[in-house]
Symmetry: C2
Subunit: 216 residues, 2 copies
């Protein structure tokens, strides 16, 4: 079925939000955690984290104007630091609940039942119940053409279970129960199909042979 | 296990690429399709498409400098138009093969076994075998701090099976066999957990009640 721009423009705002949010495919599910200068902890689910580069290690995050993670955005711009914590199947309901519009005085950690955990030398909290976590410094901040805000963070620390990192550096996130989002509210776990070897012209596609790959 | 920045900096480039690419969680899998002014068709897999906004409907795509989708980037900047086509479980191997470094004269469509398909009034080709597809106009282009390039596209057309669009606008991408990527080369399908209702403070998390949701 073909939807033209005029069809999209007359959709109700909520219908259009679900529809357009479904188009990009699966989205990553992460908790952004911050602390204000006066010590208030914030945690908010974001489905807009994307890989920007490995060397230096950089992540991008999109924040919507006036949305629930607004306090997180203010904190990370003010303190220059935040953490990203992968959502897994044990905590996706708590993670979803962070999107409620809590008051500034309320800590989402307390309200939704997640635990803030600190590492030496890191100002922002990590989420104890997450299994793959990053500490980041803010290195860029831009207002996009639709007034959403793009924050680029440079990774200075990674926390991940040693046994989930396979020989070639890949982290078996399916084995760790990582969750993906589609639309605004649909949660999924991943079922691995296969890993594929580096593609070369005029050679057939072939599975990656990696003895320690644990995603099978 | 804790990995500090000094640990990351001494990883081999390939190991670090796998490791850092795994950290954001599941990534969307899309084929960007373009046509040059002189009629050469290009198609390339990208795992860096992200939702930027629903009104107007905007998608962001990150292109790496000197990577395989370079020809696609040149075409879309030159013609102002591209399509995004969700990768599904029937075509993920062909989609992966588009990442081989083909010569300019070679069309990845022919080389990997995908089919270009045209819609009236759209210059860029769609991928016939994809089930959820978008036509986009380039509305922004920025060089990021690490020399990757961010392209923002505004959606002017969507093609999706009517029966996959549920009552509230959500598209059942799991039912359509959509694929997610983790790391550089690991492909997954999604197994739906549940949809959750709009979160409100001081109300427990609850499943979305939506009779026509087909993802269960």
């Amino acid at each position: 079925m073909q939807f033209n721009r005029s069809d999209i423009d007359v959709m109700s705002p909520r219908f259009r939000a679900q529809f357009i949010n479904s188009l990009s495919g699966y989205k990553s599910a992460n908790l952004v955690a911050t602390r204000s200068r006066d010590g208030k902890e914030n945690v908010a689910i974001v489905s807009s984290v994307f890989h920007l580069g490995a060397n230096p290690p950089l992540m991008g995050v999109i924040f919507r104007p006036h949305s629930a993670p607004r306090h997180s955005l203010e904190n990370l711009l003010d303190t220059g630091e935040f953490t990203l914590n992968q959502v897994n199947m044990e905590i996706y309901r708590c993670a979803h609940q962070t999107s409620a519009r809590f008051e500034r005085e309320q800590s989402e950690f307390v309200e939704v039942g997640l635990t803030a955990e600190y590492e030496e030398g890191v100002f922002a909290p990590f989420v104890q119940q997450s299994r793959v976590k990053m500490g980041l410094k803010v290195v860029d901040h831009q207002i996009m053409c639709n007034k959403t805000e793009l924050v680029v963070g440079e990774i200075f620390m990674v926390l991940a279970p040693a046994q989930s990192v396979v020989d070639d550096g890949y982290i078996d996130i399916a084995g760790l129960g990582a969750v993906a989002v589609s639309g605004l509210d649909s949660y999924h776990v991943g079922r691995p199909l296969e890993r594929l070897a580096y593609a070369k012209p005029n050679q057939p596609v072939r599975p990656l042979v990696c003895e320690t790959a644990q995603s099978e």
